[in-house]
Amino acid sequence: MNVIEVENLVKAYTDLALEVVAVDHVNLTVKKGEFTAIVGPSGSGKTTLLNMIGGLDKPTSGTIRVNNKDITQLNSKELINFRLHNIGFIFQSYNLIPVLTAKENVSFIMEMQGENRKTVDERVSEILTAVGLGDRMNSRPNQLSGGQQQRVAVARAMASRPQFIIADEPTANLDSKTTEKLLDLMEELNEKENITFLFSTHDQRVVNKARRIVVLEDGKVVEDNENIKQ
C-alpha cells in the first residue's frame, strides 16, 4: 500500500534574477512501513522535497498524494490540520517547546488532536519508556542532553501514530554514539509500530540503516535502491 505518491514534482524559485529548480520532475512512491533515506550533496533538493511532502511548502507543479489525497490542493489551514493528523516531524535541532516537560511535549500533539486524557497518558508513558526516557518524563528540554532531546522529538513525532514521519537530518547535531542509539531506536519503532520513515541525511551511518535509499542530485532522482537490507 502506497502512503506517499509524488508525481512530476517541481519546485522552482528565483534567486538573484536566476531561476533555480530545486526539485526537478521528481517521481517517488513510498509504501507503508518503509524506512527510506533521501541522500545527496548539499543543495540537491532533499530538504525542499521533504518540506513539500510534509505540506510545509507548496510545489511549483506536480502532485503529492498521501493515502490518495492530493495535498497540493489544500489551503494553509487545511494543511496545518493535515500535518497534525498525518505527519510526524523530527528536526535537526530537536525543536522541542522549551517551557514544556518531555511528557508535555509528547502529549501536546495528541491533545491538539483531541485525544482523551487517559489515552494520551498511556501512550505518552509507553512511547517515552520505549525511547528510554521513562525516568525523565518531567524534565524540561534544557535539563536533557542533545541525544535525549532528540529522543523526545522522536517520541513526539511517533506518539500519535502518524501516516509517516519526516526526519530532516535528524542526527546532524549528535555524536556518533548517540546517533547509533537513536538510529537503533528509530529502526526498532519502525518495525514495531510499522510507521513509515522518510529522512534526509548526509550521514553514512544513517544511510547504512536505511532499507531504501533515494539519491538526489540537482533536484532529480538519480538512483533509487529498494530493499537493500532484505
Binding site: 496545518i80 500535518r83 516531524f89 522549551p98 517551557v99 513526539r156
Partner: protein
C-alpha cells in the same frame, strides 16, 4: 485551553528579568496614574465643596428668566409646600430659599454697591452657615494702640502684621499670632481688646450681617447702621436703614467685598415682594448623582414657572478652571501611557523576533495559528494583569491615607491661598471610576500592541520561520 494557559504562563517566566521589568513599568504607570487622578479629582471635589456647597448650592431653582436677567422682577412664588417637595426628593440634603438683589449701601460719606442676600437664618445654617463665619475678633489700629502699653513689643509686631485682619474664633487668632499656652494672659488681653460683638440674625430680625471687607470699606462695625437704596419689585424704589448685627468673613474675596445678609422678611419688605424668592439653593448628598437629581427636580417642577440649574451652569468659571486643569493632568497621563506603550511594544517585538523559529516549528507540527495567537495574547494579558493589579493594590493605601489625612499647605502659600479665597487643603478622592479606568486603558493599550504579533503569526510561513528568515 488549559494547555494554552499553561504554555502562556510558563513562557512569561522564560525571561524572568524582562517580564519583571515590563510588569514594573506597567505597575508604575498604573500607580502614578491612579494616585495623580485621585489627587486631582479630590482637589476638584474639594474646590466645588468649598465654593459650591458653602454658598451657591449644587442645584438652584430659579425663575427661567433670572439666569439671563438676574433682576428682582424675575422672581417666583415660594411656598413651604414647594420646599417640602424639594427636600423629600431623593439625594437632596438641604434646600434654602433666597432673594438676591443689588443696592447701594451708604454710611454718611461712604457708599458702595452691594449684593443683598435674603435668607432664612435658621435654614441657611445648613447651607452657607453665616453664623460660623461671624467675625468675633478683629485686629485694628485702635486695638493695637490700646494694647501697645500692655503687652510685649514682639506681640505688637505680630499684631501689626495682622492689622485689619478678622478672625471668627479665638483659636484662629491665637494661631495667627503664634501664641503658646504660657502666653494665655497676654492672649486674654489681646482677645478682650480685639473682640467684636458679632451676633447672628434671628428669623424676624430687622438688622443685617455685612461682609468683613465691606465693613472695613464702609468703616462700620457692629451696632452701627447702614442705609440701603435700590430698586424694588416692578420698578418701585426701595430704601431703608438697617442696624449691623454682625460681620461675616467670607472665603471668597469677591463676596467678602460686597455681601449683605438680611432675613427673607426684611428683604421682602425692602424690595416690595410678597412671598417671592429669586432662587432656592439645594445641596445634595451624593454629588455623583447630581444630574439624576436635577432631572427628577425638573420633572417635579415641570408645570411651574421655574427652572432647575446645576452649579456648572451657575458657575461656568469654576467649571472651566477644573476642566482646563483636568486636561493638563490627562495630557500628562497620555504622555506616560505613550511611553509605557512603546515599552510594552518593544518587549513584544523582542519576544516575537526571538521566538519566530519556535512558532514555525509549532505551526509545522500542526498547531493552529489561532492557538498560537492565543498563547501570545494571553502572555501579554498575564503580564499586564500582574502590573495592573499590583499598581492598583499599591495605590490603595496611598489613596486611603490622602483621603483621611489630606495634604495641608502651611506658611505663606497657605496664607496666599486663603487670600485668594481657596482652601489650602488637598484631599485625595475616594475610589471611583478613575481607579478602574487606568487599568482598562492599559489593558486596551496592550490589546492594541498585540495587533503586531497577531498579524505576524497569522502571516507566518513555517518554513521561513524555521530557517530564521
Amino acid at each position: 485551553m488549559k494547555d494554552i494557559i499553561k504554555i502562556a504562563w510558563r513562557n512569561l517566566w522564560r525571561n524572568r528579568r524582562r517580564t519583571i521589568i515590563t510588569a514594573s513599568s506597567i505597575f508604575f504607570a498604573i500607580f502614578f496614574a491612579i494616585v495623580m487622578r485621585s489627587f486631582q479629582i479630590g482637589t476638584y471635589k474639594h474646590m466645588v465643596k468649598i465654593s459650591i456647597e458653602s454658598y451657591l448650592g449644587y442645584l438652584q431653582i430659579q425663575n427661567p428668566d433670572y439666569f439671563d436677567d438676574p433682576s428682582i422682577d424675575n422672581v417666583f412664588e415660594f411656598t413651604l409646600e414647594m420646599l417640602e417637595e424639594i427636600t423629600k426628593t431623593v439625594n437632596v440634603k438641604v434646600a434654602v430659599p433666597r432673594i438676591e438683589s443689588f443696592a447701594l449701601a451708604s454710611t454718611g460719606m461712604l457708599s458702595k454697591g452691594v449684593m443683598l442676600t435674603g435668607i432664612s437664618p435658621e435654614k441657611e445654617k445648613e447651607m452657607s452657615n453665616p453664623e460660623q463665619k461671624l467675625v468675633h475678633y478683629a485686629v485694628t489700629d485702635k486695638a493695637i494702640e490700646h494694647l501697645q502699653q500692655k503687652i510685649k513689643p514682639d506681640v505688637i509686631e505680630l499684631l501689626k502684621i495682622h492689622n485689619n485682619t478678622s478672625f471668627s474664633s479665638a483659636e484662629k487668632l491665637a494661631t495667627a499670632l503664634d501664641f503658646q499656652t504660657e502666653d494665655s494672659l497676654i492672649l486674654q488681653t489681646v482677645l478682650a481688646q480685639t473682640h467684636v460683638a458679632s451676633g447672628y440674625l434671628s428669623e424676624n430680625d430687622e438688622g443685617v450681617l455685612i461682609s468683613d471687607r465691606l465693613s472695613k470699606y464702609l468703616k462700620v462695625s457692629v451696632g452701627d447702621s447702614i442705609i440701603l437704596i435700590g430698586q424694588g419689585y416692578q420698578g418701585s424704589s426701595a430704601a431703608g436703614i438697617y442696624p449691623v448685627r454682625g460681620i461675616v468673613k467670607l472665603p471668597s474675596p469677591e463676596l467678602d467685598n460686597k455681601l449683605v445678609y438680611m432675613t427673607l422678611g426684611n428683604i421682602n419688605t425692602f424690595l416690595g415682594l410678597s412671598e417671592q424668592v429669586t432662587s432656592i439653593a439645594i445641596n445634595i448628598e451624593n454629588t455623583d448623582e447630581m444630574y439624576k437629581t436635577e432631572t427628577v427636580l425638573k420633572q417635579t417642577f415641570e408645570n411651574t414657572k421655574t427652572c432647575v440649574k446645576n452649579w456648572e451652569e451657575l458657575s461656568p468659571a469654576l467649571k472651566q478652571q477644573i476642566e482646563s486643569d483636568s486636561v493638563s493632568g490627562i495630557l500628562f497621563l497620555v504622555i506616560l501611557y505613550v511611553i509605557i506603550f512603546f515599552g510594552i511594544f518593544g518587549t513584544l517585538l523582542m519576544m516575537i523576533s526571538e521566538r519566530m523559529r519556535e512558532f514555525g516549528i509549532m505551526v509545522a507540527i500542526g498547531m493552529k495559528k489561532f492557538k498560537l495567537v492565543l498563547i501570545v495574547v494571553m502572555e501579554m494579558l498575564f503580564l499586564s494583569l500582574i502590573g495592573i493589579f499590583a499598581g492598583m493594590a499599591a495605590s490603595v493605601p496611598v489613596i486611603l491615607y490622602g483621603y483621611y489625612f489630606p495634604v495641608k499647605l502651611t506658611g505663606e502659600i497657605k496664607d496666599m491661598m486663603i487670600e485668594l479665597g481657596m482652601d489650602p487643603v488637598f484631599p485625595f478622592a475616594w475610589f471611583g471610576d478613575y481607579f478602574y479606568i487606568q487599568g482598562v486603558i492599559v489593558f486596551i493599550m496592550i490589546l492594541v500592541a498585540c495587533i503586531y504579533p497577531v498579524r505576524t503569526i497569522l502571516k507566518l510561513n513555517a518554513i521561513e520561520a524555521i530557517r530564521g528568515k
